[in-house]
Amino acid sequence: MSDAILKLEGVYTNIAQYHILQGVDLEVPRGAVTMLLGRNGVGKTTTLRTVIGHWRAHQGRILFDGEDITKMPTPAIARMGLGFVPEDMGIFADLTVEENMVLAAASGPINSARLDWIFAAFPPLKTFWKSDAGTLSGGQKQMLSIARAMVEERKLYLIDEPTKGLAPAIISTMARALKDLKDQGASVLLVEQNFAVAKALGDSANVMDDGRMIWSGEMQELATDAALQERLMGLSLEAH
Protein backbone atom coordinates (compact mmCIF):
# COMPACT_ATOMS: atom_id res chain seq x y z
CA MET A 1 0.00 0.00 0.00
CA SER A 2 1.88 3.03 -1.18
CA ASP A 3 -0.92 5.48 -0.57
CA ALA A 4 -0.52 5.69 3.18
CA ILE A 5 0.25 9.18 4.45
CA LEU A 6 1.47 7.67 7.72
CA LYS A 7 2.80 4.23 8.46
CA LEU A 8 4.01 2.73 11.73
CA GLU A 9 5.95 -0.52 11.50
CA GLY A 10 6.54 -2.46 14.71
CA VAL A 11 6.90 0.61 16.91
CA TYR A 12 8.05 0.12 20.50
CA THR A 13 8.01 3.08 22.90
CA ASN A 14 9.14 3.13 26.51
CA ILE A 15 8.17 5.80 29.01
CA ALA A 16 10.69 5.72 31.84
CA GLN A 17 11.05 2.02 32.61
CA TYR A 18 7.61 1.07 31.29
CA HIS A 19 7.12 -0.65 27.95
CA ILE A 20 4.09 1.22 26.70
CA LEU A 21 3.98 0.52 22.96
CA GLN A 22 4.91 -3.02 22.10
CA GLY A 23 5.05 -3.31 18.36
CA VAL A 24 2.40 -0.99 16.97
CA ASP A 25 1.55 -1.40 13.27
CA LEU A 26 -0.68 1.22 11.76
CA GLU A 27 -1.50 2.56 8.34
CA VAL A 28 -3.27 5.86 7.79
CA PRO A 29 -4.53 6.26 4.23
CA ARG A 30 -4.56 9.63 2.48
CA GLY A 31 -7.74 11.64 2.29
CA ALA A 32 -9.66 9.68 4.90
CA VAL A 33 -10.43 9.69 8.60
CA THR A 34 -8.76 6.85 10.44
CA MET A 35 -9.98 6.07 13.94
CA LEU A 36 -7.68 4.91 16.71
CA LEU A 37 -9.78 3.21 19.38
CA GLY A 38 -9.29 1.17 22.51
CA ARG A 39 -9.93 1.07 26.21
CA ASN A 40 -8.39 3.64 28.55
CA GLY A 41 -4.66 3.42 29.01
CA VAL A 42 -3.88 1.10 26.10
CA GLY A 43 -1.49 3.52 24.39
CA LYS A 44 -3.51 5.69 21.97
CA THR A 45 -2.08 8.97 23.21
CA THR A 46 1.38 7.44 23.40
CA THR A 47 1.06 6.41 19.75
CA LEU A 48 0.26 9.97 18.65
CA ARG A 49 3.01 11.42 20.84
CA THR A 50 5.48 8.98 19.34
CA VAL A 51 4.51 10.08 15.82
CA ILE A 52 5.09 13.77 16.57
CA GLY A 53 8.30 12.89 18.39
CA HIS A 54 7.46 13.83 21.97
CA TRP A 55 8.26 10.25 22.86
CA ARG A 56 10.88 8.35 20.89
CA ALA A 57 10.38 4.90 19.40
CA HIS A 58 13.34 2.79 20.39
CA GLN A 59 12.48 0.15 17.85
CA GLY A 60 10.48 0.14 14.62
CA ARG A 61 9.92 2.75 11.92
CA ILE A 62 7.57 5.63 11.33
CA LEU A 63 7.05 6.82 7.76
CA PHE A 64 5.30 10.12 7.10
CA ASP A 65 4.55 10.93 3.48
CA GLY A 66 7.15 8.36 2.47
CA GLU A 67 9.91 9.79 4.67
CA ASP A 68 11.39 8.08 7.70
CA ILE A 69 10.67 10.43 10.62
CA THR A 70 11.52 8.01 13.42
CA LYS A 71 14.52 10.04 14.56
CA MET A 72 13.56 13.43 13.19
CA PRO A 73 13.25 16.33 15.69
CA THR A 74 9.67 17.34 16.52
CA PRO A 75 9.80 20.79 14.84
CA ALA A 76 10.98 19.23 11.59
CA ILE A 77 8.19 16.65 11.68
CA ALA A 78 5.64 19.37 12.34
CA ARG A 79 6.95 21.48 9.47
CA MET A 80 6.52 18.57 7.08
CA GLY A 81 2.81 19.22 7.51
CA LEU A 82 1.55 17.61 10.66
CA GLY A 83 -1.19 19.31 12.67
CA PHE A 84 -1.32 18.10 16.26
CA VAL A 85 -4.20 18.48 18.72
CA PRO A 86 -2.93 16.99 21.98
CA GLU A 87 -5.11 15.33 24.58
CA ASP A 88 -4.50 18.20 27.03
CA MET A 89 -5.14 20.73 24.23
CA GLY A 90 -1.77 22.47 24.72
CA ILE A 91 -3.28 25.96 24.79
CA PHE A 92 -0.97 28.90 25.60
CA ALA A 93 -3.05 30.42 28.38
CA ASP A 94 -1.01 33.63 28.72
CA LEU A 95 -1.36 34.38 25.02
CA THR A 96 -4.50 35.72 23.38
CA VAL A 97 -6.59 33.59 21.04
CA GLU A 98 -5.16 35.59 18.18
CA GLU A 99 -1.59 35.05 19.33
CA ASN A 100 -2.21 31.32 19.66
CA MET A 101 -3.43 31.26 16.07
CA VAL A 102 -0.60 33.44 14.74
CA LEU A 103 1.91 31.04 16.27
CA ALA A 104 0.11 28.05 14.82
CA ALA A 105 0.45 29.51 11.33
CA ALA A 106 4.15 28.79 11.33
CA SER A 107 4.79 29.37 7.65
CA GLY A 108 3.43 32.90 7.40
CA PRO A 109 0.47 35.19 7.97
CA ILE A 110 -2.91 33.57 8.53
CA ASN A 111 -4.81 32.94 5.31
CA SER A 112 -8.00 34.99 5.58
CA ALA A 113 -10.24 32.50 3.77
CA ARG A 114 -9.13 29.80 6.15
CA LEU A 115 -9.73 32.09 9.08
CA ASP A 116 -13.28 32.76 7.87
CA TRP A 117 -13.87 29.04 7.65
CA ILE A 118 -12.56 28.60 11.22
CA PHE A 119 -14.73 31.45 12.53
CA ALA A 120 -17.76 29.90 10.87
CA ALA A 121 -17.02 26.55 12.49
CA PHE A 122 -16.13 28.01 15.90
CA PRO A 123 -17.87 31.38 16.38
CA PRO A 124 -16.62 31.87 19.97
CA LEU A 125 -13.07 32.19 18.66
CA LYS A 126 -14.11 35.29 16.77
CA THR A 127 -15.84 36.72 19.83
CA PHE A 128 -12.85 36.12 22.09
CA TRP A 129 -10.18 36.80 19.45
CA LYS A 130 -8.40 39.37 21.63
CA SER A 131 -8.93 37.62 24.97
CA ASP A 132 -6.36 35.59 26.86
CA ALA A 133 -6.79 31.95 25.93
CA GLY A 134 -6.58 31.07 29.61
CA THR A 135 -9.96 32.70 30.19
CA LEU A 136 -11.78 30.50 27.64
CA SER A 137 -14.11 27.72 28.75
CA GLY A 138 -13.05 24.11 28.33
CA GLY A 139 -15.03 23.72 25.12
CA GLN A 140 -13.68 26.96 23.68
CA LYS A 141 -10.14 25.87 24.49
CA GLN A 142 -10.76 22.66 22.59
CA MET A 143 -12.07 24.70 19.65
CA LEU A 144 -8.91 26.79 19.74
CA SER A 145 -6.73 23.71 19.87
CA ILE A 146 -8.40 22.26 16.77
CA ALA A 147 -8.45 25.64 15.06
CA ARG A 148 -4.70 25.95 15.56
CA ALA A 149 -4.21 22.71 13.67
CA MET A 150 -6.64 23.81 10.94
CA VAL A 151 -5.16 27.28 10.44
CA GLU A 152 -2.81 25.92 7.81
CA GLU A 153 -3.39 23.09 5.40
CA ARG A 154 -1.62 20.05 6.84
CA LYS A 155 -0.85 16.76 5.18
CA LEU A 156 -2.12 14.97 8.26
CA TYR A 157 -4.04 15.93 11.38
CA LEU A 158 -3.42 14.03 14.62
CA ILE A 159 -6.35 14.70 16.93
CA ASP A 160 -6.55 13.23 20.42
CA GLU A 161 -10.03 13.03 21.99
CA PRO A 162 -11.49 16.33 20.80
CA THR A 163 -14.80 15.77 22.59
CA LYS A 164 -13.42 14.70 25.95
CA GLY A 165 -15.44 16.17 28.80
CA LEU A 166 -17.59 18.40 26.60
CA ALA A 167 -21.32 19.02 26.72
CA PRO A 168 -23.45 17.49 23.92
CA ALA A 169 -24.07 20.80 22.16
CA ILE A 170 -20.36 21.50 21.90
CA ILE A 171 -19.63 17.92 20.85
CA SER A 172 -21.81 18.44 17.80
CA THR A 173 -19.97 21.67 17.01
CA MET A 174 -16.70 19.73 17.10
CA ALA A 175 -18.13 16.91 15.02
CA ARG A 176 -19.37 19.35 12.38
CA ALA A 177 -15.97 21.03 12.17
CA LEU A 178 -14.23 17.69 11.81
CA LYS A 179 -16.73 16.62 9.17
CA ASP A 180 -15.89 19.84 7.32
CA LEU A 181 -12.23 18.94 7.47
CA LYS A 182 -13.01 15.46 6.19
CA ASP A 183 -15.10 16.81 3.32
CA GLN A 184 -12.14 18.91 2.23
CA GLY A 185 -10.25 15.69 1.69
CA ALA A 186 -7.95 15.99 4.71
CA SER A 187 -6.13 13.00 6.14
CA VAL A 188 -6.94 12.57 9.83
CA LEU A 189 -5.86 10.18 12.54
CA LEU A 190 -8.46 10.57 15.25
CA VAL A 191 -8.67 9.19 18.76
CA GLU A 192 -12.29 9.39 19.87
CA GLN A 193 -14.22 7.72 22.66
CA ASN A 194 -17.60 9.12 21.69
CA PHE A 195 -19.06 6.39 19.56
CA ALA A 196 -21.60 8.49 17.72
CA VAL A 197 -18.84 10.83 16.61
CA ALA A 198 -16.52 7.95 15.73
CA LYS A 199 -19.20 6.27 13.66
CA ALA A 200 -20.12 9.48 11.86
CA LEU A 201 -16.56 10.44 10.96
CA GLY A 202 -14.47 7.30 10.71
CA ASP A 203 -13.67 5.59 7.43
CA SER A 204 -11.47 2.93 8.88
CA ALA A 205 -10.77 1.92 12.45
CA ASN A 206 -7.86 0.50 14.38
CA VAL A 207 -8.29 -0.92 17.84
CA MET A 208 -5.44 -1.08 20.34
CA ASP A 209 -5.01 -3.12 23.45
CA ASP A 210 -2.03 -3.28 25.74
CA GLY A 211 0.35 -1.44 23.45
CA ARG A 212 -0.51 -3.36 20.30
CA MET A 213 -2.96 -3.13 17.44
CA ILE A 214 -5.48 -5.92 17.82
CA TRP A 215 -7.89 -5.13 15.02
CA SER A 216 -8.00 -3.06 11.84
CA GLY A 217 -10.84 -2.74 9.40
CA GLU A 218 -13.74 -0.63 8.16
CA MET A 219 -15.37 1.61 10.74
CA GLN A 220 -18.71 0.46 9.33
CA GLU A 221 -17.91 -3.16 10.14
CA LEU A 222 -17.00 -2.38 13.75
CA ALA A 223 -19.97 -0.07 14.18
CA THR A 224 -22.48 -2.72 13.22
CA ASP A 225 -21.00 -5.61 15.17
CA ALA A 226 -21.72 -5.28 18.87
CA ALA A 227 -20.12 -8.62 19.65
CA LEU A 228 -16.90 -7.52 17.98
CA GLN A 229 -16.90 -4.30 19.98
CA GLU A 230 -17.43 -6.30 23.13
CA ARG A 231 -14.50 -8.55 22.30
CA LEU A 232 -12.12 -5.72 21.30
CA MET A 233 -12.94 -3.09 23.84
CA GLY A 234 -14.55 -4.99 26.65
CA LEU A 235 -17.85 -3.28 26.15
CA SER A 236 -20.26 -2.37 23.48
CA LEU A 237 -19.58 1.12 22.20
CA GLU A 238 -23.33 1.64 21.97
CA ALA A 239 -23.35 1.72 25.75
CA HIS A 240 -21.57 5.08 25.72
Partner: protein
Protein backbone atom coordinates in the same frame (compact mmCIF):
# COMPACT_ATOMS: atom_id res chain seq x y z
CA UNK B 1 -38.20 14.03 31.61
CA UNK B 2 -37.93 15.98 34.79
CA UNK B 3 -37.36 19.66 34.56
CA UNK B 4 -33.94 20.83 35.53
CA UNK B 5 -33.96 22.76 38.77
CA UNK B 6 -34.31 26.45 38.25
CA UNK B 7 -30.91 27.82 37.57
CA UNK B 8 -30.74 31.33 38.87
CA UNK B 9 -27.14 32.32 39.21
CA UNK B 10 -26.54 35.26 41.49
CA UNK B 11 -24.15 37.76 40.09
CA UNK B 12 -21.23 37.59 42.45
CA UNK B 13 -20.24 40.91 43.90
CA UNK B 14 -16.88 41.79 42.51
CA UNK B 15 -15.20 43.05 45.62
CA UNK B 16 -12.66 45.84 45.61
CA UNK B 17 -10.08 43.28 46.63
CA UNK B 18 -10.82 41.03 43.65
CA UNK B 19 -10.69 43.92 41.28
CA UNK B 20 -7.40 45.21 42.56
CA UNK B 21 -5.65 41.84 42.95
CA UNK B 22 -4.21 41.58 39.42
CA UNK B 23 -2.71 45.05 39.71
CA UNK B 24 -1.36 44.59 43.22
CA UNK B 25 2.26 43.93 42.18
CA UNK B 26 2.47 47.17 40.16
CA UNK B 27 0.78 49.10 42.94
CA UNK B 28 3.34 47.87 45.44
CA UNK B 29 5.96 50.19 43.92
CA UNK B 30 4.09 53.45 44.67
CA UNK B 31 2.93 51.97 47.97
CA UNK B 32 6.50 51.41 49.08
CA UNK B 33 7.42 54.88 47.85
CA UNK B 34 4.57 56.39 49.90
CA UNK B 35 5.52 54.35 52.94
CA UNK B 36 9.07 55.59 52.50
CA UNK B 37 7.83 59.17 52.30
CA UNK B 38 5.93 58.80 55.56
CA UNK B 39 8.83 57.12 57.32
CA UNK B 40 11.52 59.51 56.11
CA UNK B 41 9.53 62.72 56.63
CA UNK B 42 12.03 64.83 54.76
CA UNK B 43 10.87 65.39 51.17
CA UNK B 44 14.27 66.19 49.71
CA UNK B 45 16.00 63.19 51.31
CA UNK B 46 13.09 61.07 50.17
CA UNK B 47 13.47 62.25 46.58
CA UNK B 48 17.20 61.57 46.58
CA UNK B 49 16.67 58.09 48.00
CA UNK B 50 13.81 57.33 45.63
CA UNK B 51 15.81 58.20 42.53
CA UNK B 52 18.72 56.24 43.85
CA UNK B 53 16.46 53.27 44.64
CA UNK B 54 14.92 53.36 41.18
CA UNK B 55 18.37 53.54 39.58
CA UNK B 56 19.55 50.57 41.57
CA UNK B 57 16.37 48.67 40.74
CA UNK B 58 16.76 49.34 37.03
CA UNK B 59 20.31 48.04 37.07
CA UNK B 60 19.32 44.91 38.95
CA UNK B 61 16.51 44.41 36.45
CA UNK B 62 18.88 44.67 33.51
CA UNK B 63 21.19 42.11 35.10
CA UNK B 64 18.35 39.76 36.10
CA UNK B 65 16.01 39.88 33.10
CA UNK B 66 17.91 37.28 31.07
CA UNK B 67 18.08 34.86 33.97
CA UNK B 68 14.33 34.76 34.49
CA UNK B 69 13.67 33.98 30.81
CA UNK B 70 16.39 31.34 30.71
CA UNK B 71 14.77 29.62 33.65
CA UNK B 72 11.26 29.99 32.29
CA UNK B 73 12.10 28.65 28.85
CA UNK B 74 14.26 25.64 29.56
CA UNK B 75 13.98 25.19 33.30
CA UNK B 76 17.70 25.91 33.52
CA UNK B 77 19.09 27.24 36.79
CA UNK B 78 22.18 29.28 35.95
CA UNK B 79 24.24 30.17 39.00
CA UNK B 80 26.94 31.36 36.63
CA UNK B 81 24.89 34.31 35.38
CA UNK B 82 26.95 36.66 37.57
CA UNK B 83 30.02 35.86 35.47
CA UNK B 84 28.53 37.93 32.65
CA UNK B 85 28.06 40.86 35.00
CA UNK B 86 31.73 40.80 35.98
CA UNK B 87 33.05 40.26 32.45
CA UNK B 88 30.76 42.99 31.13
CA UNK B 89 32.08 45.41 33.74
CA UNK B 90 35.74 44.60 33.05
CA UNK B 91 35.45 44.76 29.28
CA UNK B 92 33.32 47.91 29.38
CA UNK B 93 35.55 49.73 31.85
CA UNK B 94 38.65 48.73 29.86
CA UNK B 95 37.11 50.27 26.76
CA UNK B 96 36.33 53.43 28.73
CA UNK B 97 39.92 53.62 29.94
CA UNK B 98 41.17 53.35 26.37
CA UNK B 99 38.87 56.21 25.47
CA UNK B 100 40.27 58.55 28.13
CA UNK B 101 40.32 61.48 25.71
CA UNK B 102 36.59 61.09 25.23
CA UNK B 103 35.64 60.58 28.88
CA UNK B 104 37.76 63.43 30.19
CA UNK B 105 36.48 65.97 27.71
CA UNK B 106 33.76 68.17 29.20
CA UNK B 107 31.36 67.28 26.42
CA UNK B 108 28.21 65.31 27.08
CA UNK B 109 28.18 63.97 23.52
CA UNK B 110 31.75 62.67 23.71
CA UNK B 111 31.12 61.18 27.16
CA UNK B 112 27.97 59.39 26.10
CA UNK B 113 29.70 58.24 22.93
CA UNK B 114 32.46 56.68 25.01
CA UNK B 115 29.90 54.95 27.24
CA UNK B 116 28.03 53.70 24.21
CA UNK B 117 31.22 52.19 22.79
CA UNK B 118 32.00 50.63 26.17
CA UNK B 119 28.51 49.15 26.35
CA UNK B 120 28.74 47.76 22.82
CA UNK B 121 32.10 46.18 23.62
CA UNK B 122 30.80 44.69 26.85
CA UNK B 123 27.63 43.32 25.28
CA UNK B 124 29.51 41.81 22.35
CA UNK B 125 31.96 40.12 24.69
CA UNK B 126 29.32 38.79 27.08
CA UNK B 127 26.97 37.78 24.27
CA UNK B 128 29.74 35.74 22.67
CA UNK B 129 30.67 34.33 26.04
CA UNK B 130 27.02 33.43 26.66
CA UNK B 131 26.94 31.49 23.43
CA UNK B 132 30.04 29.47 24.45
CA UNK B 133 28.81 29.06 28.04
CA UNK B 134 25.49 27.65 26.82
CA UNK B 135 27.17 25.20 24.46
CA UNK B 136 29.93 23.99 26.74
CA UNK B 137 28.44 24.21 30.21
CA UNK B 138 24.64 24.35 30.07
CA UNK B 139 23.64 22.11 27.18
CA UNK B 140 25.16 18.92 28.59
CA UNK B 141 23.10 19.25 31.78
CA UNK B 142 19.61 20.00 30.42
CA UNK B 143 17.00 18.54 32.71
CA UNK B 144 19.31 17.95 35.70
CA UNK B 145 18.92 20.69 38.27
CA UNK B 146 21.59 19.57 40.70
CA UNK B 147 24.17 19.21 37.94
CA UNK B 148 23.16 22.62 36.58
CA UNK B 149 23.81 24.26 39.93
CA UNK B 150 27.20 22.60 40.37
CA UNK B 151 28.40 23.04 36.81
CA UNK B 152 27.30 26.65 36.41
CA UNK B 153 28.83 27.58 39.76
CA UNK B 154 32.02 25.94 38.54
CA UNK B 155 31.79 28.01 35.37
CA UNK B 156 31.47 31.17 37.46
CA UNK B 157 34.61 30.33 39.45
CA UNK B 158 36.58 29.65 36.27
CA UNK B 159 35.49 32.97 34.77
CA UNK B 160 36.38 34.87 37.96
CA UNK B 161 39.84 33.35 37.90
CA UNK B 162 40.23 34.20 34.22
CA UNK B 163 39.37 37.83 35.03
CA UNK B 164 42.07 37.81 37.70
CA UNK B 165 44.55 36.36 35.21
CA UNK B 166 43.72 38.98 32.59
CA UNK B 167 43.19 42.10 34.71
CA UNK B 168 45.06 41.25 37.89
CA UNK B 169 43.74 40.57 41.40
CA UNK B 170 43.27 44.21 42.50
CA UNK B 171 39.99 46.00 42.33
CA UNK B 172 39.97 48.75 39.73
CA UNK B 173 38.76 52.21 40.70
CA UNK B 174 37.16 54.27 38.01
CA UNK B 175 36.05 57.81 37.45
CA UNK B 176 32.79 58.50 35.70
CA UNK B 177 32.97 60.56 32.52
CA UNK B 178 33.06 64.30 33.16
CA UNK B 179 29.49 65.14 32.25
CA UNK B 180 28.09 62.41 34.52
CA UNK B 181 29.98 63.46 37.60
CA UNK B 182 28.19 65.32 40.33
CA UNK B 183 24.56 66.00 40.97
CA UNK B 184 21.81 68.28 39.95
CA UNK B 185 19.57 69.95 42.47
CA UNK B 186 15.87 69.49 42.05
CA UNK B 187 13.29 70.67 44.59
CA UNK B 188 16.02 70.98 47.14
CA UNK B 189 17.21 67.43 46.63
CA UNK B 190 20.60 66.47 45.26
CA UNK B 191 20.22 63.88 42.53
CA UNK B 192 23.29 62.28 41.01
CA UNK B 193 23.26 62.70 37.26
CA UNK B 194 24.43 59.17 36.71
CA UNK B 195 21.39 57.78 38.52
CA UNK B 196 19.08 59.60 36.17
CA UNK B 197 20.93 58.03 33.25
CA UNK B 198 20.59 54.59 34.87
CA UNK B 199 16.85 55.07 35.31
CA UNK B 200 16.51 56.13 31.67
CA UNK B 201 18.49 53.19 30.34
CA UNK B 202 16.58 50.75 32.54
CA UNK B 203 13.25 52.06 31.30
CA UNK B 204 14.35 51.81 27.68
CA UNK B 205 15.55 48.22 28.15
CA UNK B 206 12.33 47.23 29.90
CA UNK B 207 10.08 48.82 27.28
CA UNK B 208 12.11 47.31 24.45
CA UNK B 209 11.90 43.86 25.99
CA UNK B 210 8.17 44.20 26.49
CA UNK B 211 7.77 45.29 22.91
CA UNK B 212 9.74 42.34 21.59
CA UNK B 213 7.87 39.89 23.81
CA UNK B 214 4.43 41.23 22.90
CA UNK B 215 4.70 42.49 19.36
CA UNK B 216 7.07 40.17 17.54
CA UNK B 217 6.72 36.56 16.53
CA UNK B 218 9.95 35.62 18.24
CA UNK B 219 8.53 37.19 21.40
CA UNK B 220 5.38 35.11 21.03
CA UNK B 221 7.48 31.99 20.68
CA UNK B 222 9.42 32.85 23.83
CA UNK B 223 6.27 33.53 25.86
CA UNK B 224 4.58 30.39 24.58
CA UNK B 225 7.74 28.39 25.21
CA UNK B 226 7.86 29.50 28.83
CA UNK B 227 4.38 28.01 29.22
CA UNK B 228 4.59 24.86 27.12
CA UNK B 229 7.77 24.17 25.22
CA UNK B 230 6.55 20.83 23.93
CA UNK B 231 3.61 22.41 22.12
CA UNK B 232 5.78 25.15 20.64
CA UNK B 233 7.88 22.44 19.04
CA UNK B 234 4.81 20.59 17.83
CA UNK B 235 3.88 23.80 15.98
CA UNK B 236 7.18 23.60 14.13
CA UNK B 237 9.48 25.96 16.05
CA UNK B 238 12.98 24.95 17.08
CA UNK B 239 12.81 25.83 20.75
CA UNK B 240 16.45 24.98 21.27
CA UNK B 241 17.56 27.72 18.85
CA UNK B 242 15.21 30.20 20.50
CA UNK B 243 16.64 29.28 23.86
CA UNK B 244 20.21 29.81 22.69
CA UNK B 245 19.16 33.22 21.36
CA UNK B 246 17.56 34.15 24.67
CA UNK B 247 20.61 32.93 26.55
CA UNK B 248 22.88 35.11 24.42
CA UNK B 249 20.62 38.15 24.74
CA UNK B 250 20.33 37.61 28.51
CA UNK B 251 24.10 37.35 28.84
CA UNK B 252 24.61 40.53 26.84
CA UNK B 253 22.10 42.34 29.06
CA UNK B 254 23.93 41.11 32.15
CA UNK B 255 27.06 42.54 30.57
CA UNK B 256 25.31 45.88 30.07
CA UNK B 257 24.18 45.73 33.69
CA UNK B 258 27.78 45.05 34.70
CA UNK B 259 29.10 48.19 33.01
CA UNK B 260 26.34 50.27 34.58
CA UNK B 261 26.85 48.74 38.00
CA UNK B 262 30.60 49.30 37.78
CA UNK B 263 30.13 52.97 36.90
CA UNK B 264 27.61 53.27 39.73
CA UNK B 265 29.94 51.79 42.35
CA UNK B 266 32.99 53.42 40.77
CA UNK B 267 34.94 50.25 41.46
CA UNK B 268 34.97 46.80 39.87
CA UNK B 269 36.18 43.45 41.16
CA UNK B 270 36.19 39.94 39.74
CA UNK B 271 33.61 38.96 42.34
CA UNK B 272 31.13 41.76 41.74
CA UNK B 273 28.91 39.53 39.60
CA UNK B 274 28.84 36.88 42.26
CA UNK B 275 27.81 39.46 44.84
CA UNK B 276 25.11 40.86 42.58
CA UNK B 277 23.71 37.35 42.16
CA UNK B 278 22.11 37.47 45.60
CA UNK B 279 19.99 40.46 44.65
CA UNK B 280 19.40 39.02 41.18
CA UNK B 281 18.04 35.77 42.56
CA UNK B 282 15.82 37.56 45.07
CA UNK B 283 14.35 39.67 42.28
CA UNK B 284 13.81 36.72 39.93
CA UNK B 285 12.13 34.68 42.67
CA UNK B 286 9.81 37.37 43.99
CA UNK B 287 8.90 38.41 40.45
CA UNK B 288 7.81 34.90 39.49
CA UNK B 289 10.25 32.67 37.60
CA UNK B 290 9.94 33.37 33.89
CA UNK B 291 8.11 36.69 34.22
CA UNK B 292 9.89 39.77 32.84
CA UNK B 293 7.26 42.15 34.26
CA UNK B 294 7.53 40.50 37.67
CA UNK B 295 11.29 40.77 37.53
CA UNK B 296 11.03 44.48 36.74
CA UNK B 297 8.65 45.23 39.60
CA UNK B 298 10.65 43.04 41.98
CA UNK B 299 13.84 44.90 41.09
CA UNK B 300 12.26 48.29 41.74
CA UNK B 301 10.91 47.09 45.09
CA UNK B 302 14.30 45.77 46.14
CA UNK B 303 16.07 48.95 45.03
CA UNK B 304 13.66 51.30 46.81
CA UNK B 305 13.43 49.28 50.00
CA UNK B 306 17.18 48.89 50.28
CA UNK B 307 17.73 52.65 49.94
CA UNK B 308 14.96 53.67 52.33
CA UNK B 309 15.99 51.20 55.00
CA UNK B 310 19.66 52.10 54.70
CA UNK B 311 18.65 55.66 55.51
CA UNK B 312 16.14 54.93 58.26
CA UNK B 313 17.87 52.08 60.03
CA UNK B 314 21.25 51.22 58.46
CA UNK B 315 21.65 48.07 60.52
CA UNK B 316 18.50 46.59 59.03
CA UNK B 317 19.54 47.19 55.42
CA UNK B 318 21.20 43.81 55.11
CA UNK B 319 18.10 41.86 55.96
CA UNK B 320 15.54 44.11 54.30
CA UNK B 321 15.67 42.24 51.00
CA UNK B 322 15.40 38.84 52.59
CA UNK B 323 12.45 40.12 54.63
CA UNK B 324 10.84 41.44 51.45
CA UNK B 325 11.30 38.07 49.77
CA UNK B 326 9.79 36.19 52.69
CA UNK B 327 6.83 38.57 52.84
CA UNK B 328 6.12 38.30 49.13
CA UNK B 329 6.45 34.54 49.05
CA UNK B 330 4.06 34.24 51.98
CA UNK B 331 1.60 36.34 50.02
CA UNK B 332 2.23 34.71 46.61
CA UNK B 333 4.30 31.53 46.88
CA UNK B 334 5.04 31.45 43.15
CA UNK B 335 6.12 35.08 43.04
CA UNK B 336 4.18 38.26 42.29
CA UNK B 337 3.38 37.39 38.68
CA UNK B 338 3.37 33.59 38.57
CA UNK B 339 3.85 32.05 35.15
CA UNK B 340 1.36 29.37 34.14
CA UNK B 341 3.26 26.19 33.49
CA UNK B 342 1.79 23.43 31.38
CA UNK B 343 3.50 20.73 33.38
Amino acid sequence: MTAAPEHAPKMAEVTFRDRIAPHMPVLLVPLIAIAGFIAIQNPSSWLTLTVSGLAMGMMIFIMASGLTLVFGLMDVINFGHGAFVSVGAFVGISVLMLLGHMTEAPSLMLNLGAILLAVIGAMLATGLMGWAFEKVIVEPVYGHHLKQILVTMGGLIVVEQLIIVLWGPEEIYILRPEALKGAITFAGAAIEKYRLVAVGVGLVVFLAMRWVLRRTKIGLIVRAGVENGEMVQALGYRLRLVFVGVFIAGSALAGLGGVMWGLYQEVITAHMGNHAMILIFIVVIIGGLGSVEGCFIGALLVGLLQNYIAFIEPKAALISNIALMVAILMWRPMGMIPVVKAK
